[in-house]
């Protein structure tokens, strides 16, 4: 039903999807790439942050006079040195702007900043923290959403009844009617853990405020424009007086596009001292005082017919919001939407409640709520198939989205390669033959967005913009606001520009990560850059090319039925490719023709009339082969298979890297990255005790790329690299189910959980035998 042939009107390509080295590669393999962590400015001071030891307390008094007596201490700041602005990334909604970063009157989680010191060395700043006396009045605290929502729970933010921070409702179709049609209904409760972003570069910032009243901020972030806008709000300055620089960023994964303590405190200290101030978080600070993947409690009820046709689903979700909103409000929305993916439901209803607690705030992290949604959905679907004795792949296939499908009131699916993904996964499973006794395979399906269409930040600018400037020698300057964080966006944009303009990747210099010189762009989150910034770059490049070709047409004297093009820096008539001139020669002539002005192309993109969520959706299947030690419950991943539809690939090497990397992070979420808290305190905030995938745990990653053509994407491209964080945890859960018949309802799955589940099962089996 949903088979089709890919026809990409832009082919053949000269640059796109060829083997291109990352354009930042040489800087990165020679140690030349300079991150915020490496920035050192003349006269720079070092800052350190004093943090709350209490999960919930009033700040009565802060006395830092003793700290100021220490030689080398230059300044101490507290909430009283700030404007006290409650900020948040959901700028359009005042209620959701709830975080002061340096709170004035009370702290709401362990690790929240209380004061910050600037000193001539980091060591002195650290020592000074011990000499700041803070008088607190402890308040009763609450840590879990299902406790915090109770009537008598302590109030964390004034005016939020039952600590409910945000609610979300999504519904389509006649849900009750659809449930009535169902012949089999299953309901389950699940618990999804948090996860640390664990960027290799911890949060870091260097702020330099000068007497002109302007500030320059080097920061490790995913959206310089957001940082600029948010800082303008909290400092009471104009955006244009704030310059944010972030050339190299040591990872983001959804954790670096909100204001953090490093940026805010370094700026406040610099404004007090008129000196550059650098703050780098320790690894422990990065764990306990940033934000995390949102932990969720999921109830999901699914009704199907006996032949496996999906009818209806309803879900109720309570998320542990932690102390502040951050991007958690968006995660609450997206988890509800992607819990329906990639399937067709006659009726679907979701109610989500984000609940404040006195813990580390939760937010977006790669997958943006969808890994939690898939952990629950894809396991429950596997269990339903088993309950009904149906083939789990075929049951998924017959209910899946297809090209042209409309998610009622939400989205139109313009491209969808999931059908081929099922074929690839089945082929991989067949190739395994009969598995040894201690091994099993699990699979999971999902889909993901290519950038959100929402503008809760209230940006007056286009979502993405690009400027292409052609130099007299044929080299090209590409200015973009999209942010390189290691995902390869600079290279992707250079490839799109080179393809569109007809030059080589090496001719294009990409300028990004500087709000003074690059156009505004919402930044690197929600898998938006390839599609949105990519469209802006393509448009800007085509604009420049059109201007250049006008001069070529004027000179050529060709009949107008012949059209000209530029490929491989050669300007030619398409019908007579041997006739032409070099790109450089044309640029020189065109520049003279414009009275010496350089050729400048401009492009922008904002999605319109694309539904509620995203302009395009990627689709994928993940398979894992797992070995489990029955005695210890220890899980080992032996092999993996990814079938992935990202539309037209732009950068082959980058795509493979994104998929392998997403898989490893997703696998970590499934069975390793446990974040336990006791009374609001994280118990393992270091890399010895917080386990994640290391080289020896990573299995081979087989990848099948399913090419489709996405009409809204640049050259047909859509999301890759975030969506694949979604399915893996459930695939591991399904492998456990197929091995032992036990249903794991909490992730990450720790060895003791498997051991306990097997014990329980053995007891139950014993009971059953007795009867």
């Amino acid at each position: 039903m949903n088979k089709y042939t890919v026809i990409n009107p832009h082919e053949p390509f000269r640059v796109l999807n060829t083997h291109v080295h990352n354009i930042d590669g040489i800087a990165k393999v020679t140690g030349r790439a300079t991150y915020t962590f490496d920035v050192k400015l003349p006269g720079m001071l070092y800052g350190k942050i004093l943090r709350s030891p209490y999960p919930h307390a009033k700040i009565i008094k802060i006395d830092f006079s003793k700290a100021m007596e220490i030689p080398g201490v230059i300044a101490v700041v507290t909430g009283k040195d700030t404007l006290g602005v409650k900020q948040g990334i959901w700028r359009r909604y005042k209620d959701l702007c709830d975080e002061q970063i340096l709170p004035v009157d009370k702290v709401r989680y362990i690790g929240e900043p209380v004061a910050a010191v600037a000193a001539v060395t980091e060591e002195i700043a650290e020592k000074a923290l011990d000499y700041i006396e803070v008088e607190y009045e402890e308040l009763p605290a609450t840590f879990e959403p299902l406790d915090a929502i109770k009537k008598d729970a302590p109030e964390i933010h004034e005016g939020f009844e039952r600590n409910i921070n945000v609610t979300r409702h999504i519904e389509w179709g006649e849900v009750e009617e659809a449930f009535e049609e169902a012949e089999y209904i299953r309901e389950d409760w699940f618990k999804c853990g948090g996860q640390a972003h664990m960027c290799m570069e911890t949060r870091a910032a260097v702020s330099s405020y000068t007497p002109e009243g302007k500030i320059t901020i080097y920061s490790s972030n995913q959206s310089p424009y957001y940082m600029q806008g948010l800082m303008a709000g909290v400092l009471g300055m104009r955006e244009g007086d704030i310059r944010v620089l972030s050339q190299y960023v040591g990872g983001g994964f959804g954790g670096k596009f909100e204001l953090d303590g490093a940026i805010f405190c370094s700026a406040i200290l610099s404004m007090k001292t008129f000196k550059p101030v650098k703050i780098c978080y320790t690894r422990e600070e990065d764990f306990i005082a940033t934000k995390r993947r949102t932990p969720m409690f999921y109830y999901t009820r699914t009704g199907v017919k006996k032949d496996g046709t999906f009818c209806a689903r309803e879900a109720k979700v309570f998320t542990n919001g932690g102390a502040y909103t951050g991007m958690g409000a968006t995660a609450l929305y997206l988890t509800g939407f992607f819990h329906s993916f990639p399937y067709r439901w006659k009726g679907y209803r979701y109610d989500g409640y984000r609940v404040y607690t006195n813990t580390l705030p939760s937010t977006s992290m790669r997958g943006f709520g969808a890994p939690q949604a898939m952990w629950c959905s894809e396991q429950q679907i596997e269990w339903i198939a088993a309950d009904l004795g149906l083939d789990p792949i075929e049951m998924r296939r017959k209910n899946s989205h297809y090209e042209g499908y409309v998610v009622p009131g939400q989205a139109t699916i313009a491209s969808c390669g999931i059908d081929q993904c099922y074929d690839e996964i089945r082929t991989w499973i067949k190739s395994k033959g009969k598995l040894p006794k201690d091994r099993s395979i699990g699979i999971s399906a999902c889909g993901f967005m290519s950038g959100g269409i929402f503008n809760w930040f209230d940006s007056p600018y286009s979502f993405s913009s690009a400027v292409v400037t052609v130099n007299n020698d044929g080299t090209v300057e590409l200015h973009v606001g999209c942010q390189e964080i290691g995902q390869g966006s600079n290279t992707t944009m250079a490839i799109i520009c080179a393809e569109a303009l007809g030059v080589k990747v090496g001719d294009v210099k990409v300028h990004s990560g500087d709000t003074d010189h690059c156009p505004a762009d919402l930044g690197a989150w929600g898998s938006r850059q390839t599609l949105m910034a990519g469209n802006a770059v393509k448009m800007a490049s085509e604009d420049a090319k059109k201007q250049l070709l006008e001069f070529a047409y004027a000179q050529s004297g060709l009949n107008i039925v012949y059209d000209l093009d530029i490929k491989d820096s050669w300007v030619h008539a398409i019908a007579r490719p041997e006739r032409g001139e070099t790109f450089e020669a044309l640029v020189k002539r065109a520049t003279r023709g414009k009275d010496g002005q350089r050729i400048v192309g401009r492009g922008y993109y904002t999605p319109h009339r694309k539904g509620m969520i995203s302009p395009a959706y990627s689709y994928m299947l993940q398979g894992v082969e797992v070995e489990i030690d029955e005695e210890t419950g220890k899980i080992r991943l032996l092999d993996s298979m990814t079938a992935h539809d990202c539309g037209q690939p732009i950068n082959h090497l980058g795509l493979m890297g994104q998929l392998e990397g997403a898989f490893s992070m997703a696998a970590g979420y499934g069975y390793l990255e446990y974040m336990p808290f006791e009374d609001g305190k994280m118990m393992n905030p270091n890399l010895v005790d917080y386990k994640m995938i290391r080289s020896t745990e990573m299995p081979p990653a087989n990848i099948a790329e399913i090419d489709t053509y996405e009409p809204e994407g640049p050259y047909g491209a859509k999301e890759a690299g975030e969506g694949l964080t979604n399915p893996t945890a459930a695939a591991i859960g399904n492998a456990i189910f197929h091995r032992f018949g036990v249903q794991m309802k909490e992730c990450p799955v720790r060895p003791e959980m498997i051991v306990n589940a097997l014990k329980e099962k053995a007891e139950k089996d014993k009971e059953a035998k007795k009867k």
Partner: protein, 161 residues
């Protein structure tokens, strides 16, 4: 504590440093000498971002004091390239896309370099074990393993004329 005068030979250049004996090697390299290619990602000797080689052996430079390696030859990622020519492992990292954000890359390169010097025909398991002490949050490691294997197989060996 009384400061000490030591000599570190970093990337074939001798640096004389007058430093506090508590200074870690990573601090000497980054803060005193100013070579910032070597990174730090933790305080618990867990992440490997600060890996350098000392006399061809991979060492996490946050785990030794600078004075302990007085007079020794140290190589950082900046020292792999010679006169603008990249080392085989650097070329392999480019070809395989063995880095993304790049923050672990310097340490990863140095662990790889030391391993390749001591192990001539490594198995995949050996390669994985050699970089087990280096965390990479971006790549999922396989592309790094492929790069090391390619160098070990002689893909980047210089053609001797």
């Amino acid at each position: 504590m009384e400061k000490k005068l030591i000599t570190l030979i970093v990337n074939d250049i001798e640096y004389e440093l007058y430093i506090n004996p508590k200074t870690l090697l990573v601090e000497a390299i980054r803060d005193h000498i100013g070579l910032t290619g070597t990174k730090r990602g933790c305080e618990t000797v867990s992440c490997g971002a600060c890996t350098v080689t000392i006399d061809d052996m991979a060492v996490k430079s946050c785990s030794v004091l600078a004075i302990q390696v007085d007079g020794r030859r140290i190589t950082t990622s900046e020292g792999l390239e010679k006169n603008g020519v990249l080392a085989p492992i650097q070329k392999a990292f480019l070809d395989e896309g063995s880095y993304q954000c790049g923050f672990c890359t310097s340490g990863m390169l140095m662990s790889s370099e030391a391993f390749l010097k001591e192990t001539k025909k490594p198995t995949e398991e050996q390669i994985k074990e050699a970089i087990e002490g280096n965390i990479c949050r971006c790549t999922g490691y396989n592309s790094i393993v492929r790069a090391i294997a390619a160098v070990a197989k002689g893909k980047y060996a210089e053609v001797k004329s």
